[in-house]
């Protein structure tokens, strides 16, 4: 206990003028970068590293981790208000968030998203501060076989997010998995589906897929309507309310889905290479599986939104645990932050917590405080952001298209990825028209490589005995059991819903 109290002392170190200024700068940069599709937190962190050279290590790292937290959250603004997720970790948010927006509930969506994100971030930071060393050991339990199973867990959520037609959802997911194999295969150096095109050698990026499938496709469908009309469904305009502070009744209503999603995020954060873009789908599909009659998932269900937003921010703190202790970054952002850590002469490892405690603990507390400051800051900007819902379609569509192109070019600096983004945009638009599921395609793209690498390495490291190897690993067994429960539960749930007559396939 006295350790915890000693720890609290470091909290005071956060509140220096310099540290708080760095934090505010980080939050502003993060929110803006996160909200613009194409610009993502790792990029922003990388660009700020040279600026941080001149700062003391703790201040520099508070700046960078604040960008990380705010960037993860900022992505949900554009996801909710425009269905144009700013980062891969807010793609699931776009589904329910957008449905809420067109029903005039944008402010409620932003409100719940802020609450879920802020508390998720704070809880995650607390786990980071209090139990980092033992939690780091959990990261090592995830080896190829476990990665394969985690990937499968994510892919199973395709079934949940296929609201209209399961078979079309599965086809969409399959398209994504196939597209994830494009590029030079790292394990054999064989160029797969590159058709001798140099630009395809590196594979189809996640970024162009997100911008295309969501932002550009969205702009195309917005452009269909009356140029002077808003995106709100007719007759719902009067419903827009401006209460930005979370309501107690809402929190009580959402408590279980929030708690489950925070836990899912915190655990998945510890697993290296999974991160927010996997956690949100698992949390979201978990919420759908537990749906009660009357819940309207896929049509603006607040529980779904809360699940996504709670889980993706709960990832942020714990994804730094394996980084600080083992030097294993939990995601791209964490990897870039680790680079900065080393530039400032701090090497990951247990010694960091003893010898550089004066730097590491203020950074962790700073990260926690940044999450709270971010919450207040967001409430303040959310109001003006929500006016987007009153923009005429004739203005919104060109704006999103402009941002899609500029953002994509800015993120990769090559024109080929802009073409890839356009391809995904048209694909997403057509898919949406025919009730296919662009989200499933994205999920296939993200999880395909995790599953594939895990599967192939599992067979290699088991030296010819994959099954007995798998059964001999407790974590793998646990994941297998979880997978079985999830599948069984999904089937039962659908059956139950059907027998009650409230079929999931109700018209949109």
């Amino acid at each position: 206990m006295h350790e915890v109290l000693a720890n609290l002392g470091y909290l005071l170190d956060v509140f220096t003028l310099y540290n708080m200024a760095a934090m505010l700068l980080g939050i502003c940069v993060g929110l803006v970068i996160g909200a613009i599709p194409g610009l993502n937190p790792p990029m922003a962190i990388a660009l700020l590293i040279p600026l941080s050279f001149q700062m003391p290590p703790a201040t520099a790292l508070i700046l960078l981790t604040s960008v990380y937290a705010a960037g993860m959250y900022g992505g949900s603004f554009s996801a909710i208000l425009l269905r144009a997720p700013g980062t891969s970790a807010s793609a699931a948010t776009a589904i329910e968030g957008w449905e809420m927006t067109i029903r005039g509930k944008a402010v409620q969506a932003v409100r719940v998203s802020t609450f879920a994100s802020v508390v998720g971030g704070v809880l995650s930071a607390l786990v980071l501060i209090l139990v980092a060393p033992p939690a780091a050991k959990v990261a090592l339990l995830f080896q190829p076989a476990e990665y394969f199973l985690v990937g499968l867990l994510g892919l199973v959520s395709i079934a949940s997010v296929s609201f209209k037609s399961l078979s079309k959802g599965l086809i969409s997911g399959f398209i994504g998995i196939v597209m994830s194999t494009v590029g030079i295969d790292m394990k054999s150096a064989f160029p797969r589906f590159t058709f001798d095109m140099m630009a395809l050698e590196g594979g189809l990026g996640i970024m162009p897929a997100i911008i295309g499938l969501f932002a550009l496709a969205q702009a195309l469908s917005i452009a269909e309507g009356d140029a002077s009309a808003t995106i709100l469904k007719t007759g719902e305009t009067h419903k827009v309310k401006w209460e930005l502070w979370p309501k107690w009744s809402e929190i009580v209503y959402l408590r279980w889905v929030l708690i489950r999603s925070w836990i899912i995020g915190i655990i998945i954060g510890i697993i290296p290479a999974a991160g927010g873009s996997v956690a949100q789908w698992i949390a979201y599909s978990d919420a759908i599986r537990r749906a009660k009659p009357g819940d309207c998932f896929g049509q603006g269900e607040i529980k779904g939104l809360a699940a996504c937003e709670a889980s993706n921010n709960a990832v942020t703190g714990t994804s730094m645990i394996p980084m600080f202790i083992l030097g294993i970054p939990g995601g791209i952002s964490a990897a870039v932050i680790m680079g900065a850590l080393m530039i400032h002469g701090l090497n990951p490892g247990m010694r960091l917590f003893t010898e550089s405690a004066g730097v590491v603990y203020p950074v962790m507390w700073g990260f926690l405080v940044a999450n709270i400051v971010m919450g207040f800051f967001s409430v303040w900007v959310a109001r003006s952001m929500a006016y987007v819902t009153f923009f005429p379609r004739g203005l919104l569509a060109p704006l999103i298209i402009t941002f899609s192109f500029a953002g994509q070019y800015a993120s990769s600096g090559n024109i080929y990825d802009v073409w890839v983004m356009m391809f995904f945009g048209i694909l997403g638009y057509v898919m949406e028209k025919f009730d296919f599921v662009p989200a499933a395609t994205l999920l296939g793209l993200i999880l395909g490589p995790i599953c594939e690498a895990g599967f192939r390495d599992w067979f290699i490291v088991s030296h010819g005995n994959p099954v007995s190897y798998l059964l001999g690993r407790p974590m793998a067994d646990a994941l297998l059991a979880l997978l079985a429960v999830m599948l069984w539960y999904s089937i039962q749930h659908k059956r139950r819903l059907k027998s009650r007559g409230s079929v999931a396939e109700e018209p949109a």
């Binding site: 290479a273 010694r351 990769s412």
Partner: protein, 338 residues
């Protein structure tokens, strides 16, 4: 009549003056031809945040100081570096005389793989100078009991062919080339065959997780990343693939000490410019680069980042490239798949 005559003379004078003016300006331009005359672009063929990008961002302001012009970083990501390199290979002077690019060895050597049908070769680039070099290193778990050094490792692999899992970055990467070449050299010395099972994963983080978690037994990486862990006593480096021992790890032997012949494999970053850049411009650039490498503040930054900067150019640089190429051709990983 005389009016037209004087008019014509007038025209002639104007024309002559005009010509003289053009000639004059051309001569002055020829004499001065200021270089550098504008900001430089330093192309990183990867997205922001990667290793090359970080080194570039630390280096750019120092280079700018000695060039007297700003140096901006341009990230051109895609195709495993090739989207950027294909552009750099097409650069010509004077259009691109303010463009510099990072070229990573041995990554660029993937053009040797006939399956990729690349038209570029080493001669497609105007090689300026080496920037950073990071030798390969082999690492085991600190609590590994089956072997504690390279000799023990060799013995164990001989007795248990295929049982040892060797984690490297990707096929054809420096870790993979180093592992294959190193094992071959050890086979020559100790007899073989030395058969290991390779696993491939791009990030150092994933490979460390595999090593510490037990699904990999030996890890191939680069010195800069692992110096921190050598002191952390979670992992134990068993050898470096360098000419001599690394200053910060004096107890770690080189592979050459076991194999009896030099096994030098590293990840190196070179600066390249337009192929046909005239010598006087190259000299201005090289002077600035050399001064930048020696900048005291930059040296401190490099020490923190783990960047080992070496000034190598001209014939020596060419020799290094040929050595890299010979290494890749001797491993010829693309033949396995055919």
């Amino acid at each position: 009549m005389s009016g037209t005559h004087s008019g014509r003379r007038c025209q002639l004078v104007v024309l002559l003056m005009f010509l003289a003016a053009i000639l004059c300006s051309a001569i002055t331009a020829r004499a001065e031809d200021p270089y550098p005359r504008k900001a430089f672009k330093l192309m990183v063929p990867w997205s922001p945040g990667g290793g090359t990008d970080r080194s570039a961002r630390a280096f750019a302001p120092v280079l700018a100081k000695y060039l007297g012009q700003p140096v901006g970083i341009i990230n051109v990501d895609g195709g495993g570096g090739w989207v950027g390199w294909a552009q750099a290979a097409k650069w010509t002077d004077p259009e691109n005389d303010h463009d510099l690019a990072y070229v990573n060895l041995p990554h660029i050597l993937s053009f040797l793989d006939p399956r990729l049908k690349r038209t570029e070769t080493l001669d497609s680039f105007g090689w300026l100078a080496l920037h950073t070099v990071d030798p390969c290193i082999w690492v085991i778990r600190e609590n590994e009991t089956r072997y504690r050094d390279v000799e023990g490792f060799v013995e164990y692999v001989k007795e248990n062919p295929g049982k040892v899992t060797f984690a490297v970055s990707g096929v054809g990467g420096d870790d993979h080339l180093g592992a294959v070449a190193g094992l071959r050299a050890l086979e020559e010395k100790y007899g073989g065959p030395l058969k290991v099972t390779f696993t491939y994963s791009n990030g150092d983080g994933e490979r460390i997780a595999a090593l510490l978690g037990g699904s990999a037994d030996v890890l191939g990486g680069n010195v800069a990343y692992y110096i921190a862990y050598a002191m952390e006593a979670q992992m134990k480096p068993i050898c470096v693939l360098a000419k001599q021992r690394v200053r910060d790890m004096p107890t770690v032997p080189t592979l050459a000490e076991y194999a009896g012949k030099p096994i030098v494999v590293s990840a190196a970053r070179y600066l390249a410019v337009a192929k046909n850049m005239p010598e006087y411009k190259r000299k201005i650039l090289l002077d600035a680069v050399q001064k930048a490498y020696a900048d005291p503040e930059y040296i401190i930054t490099c020490n923190k980042m783990g960047d080992v900067v070496q000034y190598v150019t001209g014939e020596d640089l060419r020799k290094q490239l040929e050595e890299f190429k010979a290494l890749a051709e001797s491993v010829a990983y693309w033949k396995d798949a055919q």
